[in-house]
Amino acid sequence: MDAPHSMGTTIIGMEYAEGVILGADSRTTTGLYVANRASDKITQLTDNVYVCRSGSAADSQVVSDYVRYFLNQHTIQIGKAASVKTAATLVRELSYQNKSFLETGLIVAGWDTHEGGSVYGVPLGGTMLRLPFATGGSGCSYLYGFLDQAWQPNMSREDAEKLVVKAIALAIARDGASGGVVRTINVNAYGVERNFYAGDQLPLFYDELAPRPTLIHF
């Protein structure tokens, strides 16, 4: 119970034809107890840039709060929307300069006029790497092979969303520290759309049982 609040987590950021899709599970653990089974790990930085958080809950919340604040000032100063690269760079600066104190892996993704949709992974230590798709958290180990095979460039929105949901469901099936519901955010030129997939809407895989309604009634 006294273990630090951490997000075991599976997080994904993925480019598709018109923009990006961010996806995450919703489990936050304190040791072996699920402190929050419905967390929202995808946080808004600006109107057009979002970040997926993993690792220490406190560290990732504080880093996103600082970056949101800096980006807010930056947007006022330049008079237009911030670019995804700028947001990712700010996240990287904080992560790298404070690497000995922080334990958080972040995926920054969004849409801007210069590059269209872009995804930047900023793992522990503060590297910044632009990728067509990025994964993070304890559940990402189970997704490397799957996404290497399944990701295609220029997917449609529906295909990309289905792929993200399937990937997170696969990770949830194997990773104890990931679970709950799947939340996705789709960012493109036209705006932002949030989606929510409850446990019974996720695809089932080998050896998984279909969820049943509760047997407990009061």
């Binding site: 967390s39 406190a58 407990i216």
Partner: protein, 274 residues
């Protein structure tokens, strides 16, 4: 040349003279006193008209119950309250500090405090101390933007939830919440669910016990229900409790002294009245 000693005024700040002595005593085998902790079950939930916070009332020092009826629901603002679990000194002081900061903020802004303000103040303080301030809080209140409920952890992370439990009894309480919570409950239903959750902690967790405290916060105001339920009454050998008629104890001698007019001003001015 004579050596003169100059009387310097005290430097101010902290004096750590006794730390070496304490360390020495500890190395010799003296047992240091344990921290006073509130083992605790604290809960909060959002109902139709606002927020209900609940807490047990047991405070422990190691294995001993040092306070059978302590108050774990702290005041932050007229419309915001906070339950505290963890080290009692830490929860007490961090809530007092944020309460003062909020009052100053109200004067500066001319507005009622918002729950997210209290949340930001708590989380930045706790994050700065990197978990050394062992305060796990359930923060709830109603402001212009509506009812809010947050769980705050010692390292500075926060969760925003419709129902939350913290403390050593949180698992027992959460079991009750997960089975009984519904959205949009009435005040009576909400109180019933909160009491069930706290009682689950009181009876199944050794770090929680005694009575149930409640705080119901709505747009209309805050209602602090101290000792709303007392499911652990004191039991006596005789049904009437202890009863000592006069004459039980022999009086050997008696002397009655009036306590007023004992202070005589010897020199200097008497202290001014106002």
């Amino acid at each position: 040349m004579t050596k003169t000693t100059i009387d310097l005024p005290p430097k101010g700040g902290f004096s750590f003279d006794l730390c070496r002595r304490n360390a020495f005593l500890e190395s010799q085998g003296t047992k240091m006193p344990k921290f006073r902790k509130t083992g605790t079950t604290i809960v909060g939930l959002i109902f139709k008209d606002g927020v209900i916070l609940g807490a047990d009332t047991r405070a422990t020092e190691g294995e001993i119950v040092c306070d059978k009826n302590c108050e774990k629901i702290h005041y932050l603002a007229p419309n915001i309250s906070c339950c505290g679990a963890g080290t009692a000194a830490d929860t007490e002081n961090v809530t007092d500090m944020v309460s003062s900061q909020l009052e100053l903020h109200r004067y500066a802004t001319g507005r009622d405090s918002r729950v997210v303000t209290a949340l930001t103040m708590l989380k930045s303080h706790l994050f700065g101390y990197q978990g050394a301030v062992s305060a796990a809080l359930v923060l709830g209140g109603v402001d212009v933007t509506g009812p809010h409920l947050h769980a705050v952890y010692p390292h500075g992370s926060t969760d925003t939830l419709p129902f939350a439990t913290m403390g050593s009894g949180s698992l027992a309480a959460m079991a009750m919440f997960e089975s009984r919570f519904k959205e949009g409950m009435t005040r009576e239903e909400g109180i019933e669910v909160v009491c069930a959750a706290i009682c689950a902690g009181i009876f199944n967790d050794l770090g929680s016990g005694s009575n149930v405290d409640l705080c119901v916060i709505t747009k209309g105001g805050k209602e602090y229900l101290r000792n709303y339920q007392q499911p652990n009454p004191r039991s006596y050998t005789h049904s009437k409790g202890y009863h000592f008629t006069s004459g039980h104890t022999a009086i050997l001698s008696s002397k009655i002294r009036a306590l007023r007019n004992q202070v005589r001003v010897v020199e200097g001015d008497a202290m001014e009245e106002e």
